[in-house]
């Protein structure tokens, strides 16, 4: 029985019958619903739009590069790759639903980490077609942003030769960048209430889904914690190696070829701030801040404190991260420690204060 929604309807009906306030049926929407909707419409969809537009710009720059290869045009293409990546990482809290669930599971098709140059080189060494349709049929390690990173940063020799018009590298770049834009578009549409509608799973939860708004809100806030865990364990902990085998592994650093690992981290942290405060550029956009203030006014200050510590620790690392995990390990560890505290703040203090400890079903009773 889920039914928390059904129960609430019952509560409301009982109350209305006693109080004669049936006209309140058109009362303002649940703040949690408004918050979840704003996260989708003001934060997630615009960032996926920006990532898709970034991928389209990258496709255009790649076309320019391959039409007349030069170092300047290669830099333009690389910059376009970074521009596409920024909004993508800012939306990383929402790495669930069509991002990770079969059969769609678009996330790994867009950003399978860490990059595997051998997969990309294997495709380059073959003789198969490399247009968009062909690339969309490749495995996750041979498409998406990491594959494009390998193609843009992994070429050897003079630019004019590596990106010669008609070369397989150029065909692969054009096919992979077109595939990237299309796949980000598919992911965006899967969330869009006017498309696949996954956002409605959160804003209008059904008994066979999240069940109620409390569970849906808990999902997003737990995902904030899981993102911090991902940054801490996968993006810093494994490369640092102290608690994952004992020795540094720079080869598993994300965006290592582009040297964008620390920027990736910064964008992900920025995404957490967007969830908490709402995107400033969208008038009326909401963030968790407005909701949690009702429980305790101290949470905003505590969140800001956590973020300031995270940014300070991030700034203290002498990049690139591939070098830092070897030569600046203590600073990397300091960032991991700050991320640990931030995760604890989200997953224990915030979740506890809002009564969001995930009750995955109503078997979870007394």
């Amino acid at each position: 029985m889920n039914t928390n929604n059904n129960k609430k309807i019952l509560i409301f009906a009982i109350f209305s019958s006693f109080a004669g306030c049936g006209e309140d049926a058109a009362a303002p929407a649940d703040l949690r619903q408004a918050l979840l909707r704003s996260w989708g419409e003001d934060l997630l969809l615009p960032r996926y739009d920006a990532a898709r537009e970034g991928a389209e710009a990258l496709h255009a720059r790649v076309g320019d590069l391959c039409a007349a290869p030069s170092a300047a045009r290669l830099e333009d293409a690389r910059a376009a790759w970074g521009e596409a990546r920024r909004p993508w990482k800012e939306a990383q809290v929402f790495s669930f639903g069509p991002y990770s669930m079969e059969p769609l599971r678009y996330g790994p098709k867009i950003d399978f980490q860490p990059a595997r140059p051998e997969s990309v080189e294997g495709v380059l060494a073959g003789d198969g077609a490399l247009d968009q349709a062909a690339v969309s049929g490749l495995g996750s390690a041979a498409r998406g942003m990491p594959a494009l990173e390998v193609l843009l940063w992994g070429a050897e020799g003079p630019v004019e030769e590596a990106f010669a018009p008609g070369s397989r590298r150029c065909a692969y770049l054009e096919g992979a960048s077109a595939d990237l834009g299309a796949t980000v578009g598919l992911l965006r549409d899967a969330w869009d209430p006017a498309g696949g509608g996954y956002l409605l799973e959160l804003t209008d939860p059904q008994p066979d889904g999240y069940g109620d708004l409390q569970m849906a809100l808990g999902e997003v806030i737990n995902r904030m914690g899981y993102l911090l865990e991902n940054l801490r364990l996968d993006r810093l902990g494994r490369p640092l190696g102290r608690e994952f085998g004992g020795s540094p592994q720079p080869e598993v650093v994300e965006s290592r070829l582009a040297g964008r690992s620390l920027e990736d981290l910064r964008d992900s942290l920025r995404g957490l701030e967007l969830v908490w405060f709402g995107p400033e550029e969208r008038p009326g956009a909401q963030g968790l801040s407005g909701y949690i203030q009702r429980r305790s006014p101290t949470f905003d200050a505590r969140f800001r404190e956590q973020m300031e510590r995270l940014y300070a620790a991030l700034d203290a690392i002498d990049g690139p991260l591939t070098d830092a995990v070897v030569s600046d390990a203590d600073d990397v560890q300091a960032l991991i420690d700050a991320l640990t505290d931030a995760q604890r703040f989200i997953q224990v203090d915030v979740i506890g204060a809002l009564g969001l400890a995930v009750g995955f079903n109503d078997n979870d009773g007394d």
Binding site: M1, F15, T340, V348, A357
Partner: protein
Amino acid sequence: MWARLTQPVDATGLAIFRALFGGVMAAAALRFWLKGWVDTLLVEPSFHFTWAGLDFVRPWPQPWMDLHFGVMALAAVGIALGWRTRWCAGLFGLLFTWVELIDKATYLNHYYLVSLWAALLAVVPAGSAWSLDARRRGSLRGEPVAQGWVWLMRAQLGVVYGFAGLAKLNGDWLLRAEPLQIWLQRFADLPGIGGLLTLPATAWVMAWAGAAYDLTAPLGLAWRRTRPLYVAAALAFHLAIWLLFPVGMFSFIMLASITLFITARPVEAPAPPSGPPRGLQRAALAFGAAWLALQLALPVRGLLYPGDLNWTEQGFRFAWRVMLIEKAGWVEYRVVTGDPPQTTRVSPRAELTPLQVKAMSTQPDMILDYAHHLAAKYQSKNNTNDVKIYADAYANLNGRPSQRLIDPDVDLAAQPRGLGHAPWILPLLRDP
């Protein structure tokens, strides 16, 4: 006293309870199966938090687990109809308790109560009236039962209410109205009633009224003059809990149990034998006394452990400490192997289900259980006994700031499972 215990009384209340209990349990088994919980909660997890000494209790492979639930539901129907009542109750109790013992993560107080009711129904003559058993013996109306059996059942319910009430006599419940203040926040946006439910005063009223009801319900229900008032209060109390909180079948089980207080009028019957109890009577008396002694002892065992029971949770289960805590937690392990020592960080999320992670992250004995599991896993993987397990575990209780739950410097692999005091659980330090 013996004469009063053996006084024949009308068994109608007992029969109604039996029928309702069986019906609710049949529905509960069907509901559990329909929701897919047989697979997701019992069969699919690769690791189970077993109970010390009962590690052999495991889920059967499918389709046998579905069959287990099917037989359990049929046994519940048998109880409801009063068909071979004691056998059906015994079978149901065995099957239900087996399910309950598969994984600590699924422990619920009302599941424990279900096991107790089933055990009692396997002994108490609950099928003596208004049952297929009674009809088979010649009269659907059946025979009276000894008053002692009715008292035993009522006493069991009194233990539940009484200890639930006593557990509420703490600072968080009475002086901060927590965790109700936190829980009621989820209704803030409910049109109309949301504002009322989230008034601080509402949580206070509910906290004090809930404690008062629990503490006085055993006597209020037993005394004929106050019984109507308490039955009405029980209806309001349990329906409110069902409406407001995700308590599954709890409210229905408790409401079914209230019918035990339907007046059991003395009936004319052949006079009970005078003199001291003999044979089966003596066994029945001993059973009742032992049962009640155990039911009184189990809830108070928590007092033997140092620290805040709601934080350490030592002696928390099987003690009717219901709806007392809102806890959130987070735990990771450091697995240290070899010489020189090499550390591997392990998140339980990689192996456990979300429900298991949620349950274990705030319950120290489950944190220890998983540490032992990790120790065995890494001992096997590294072919060495030199494996140490440390936990970085944080939790909060009823809105307090988070703090460490487990001493991070204690090798949990070296700590025994069992009922003894666990000094590696750190005390609750900070007040809100």
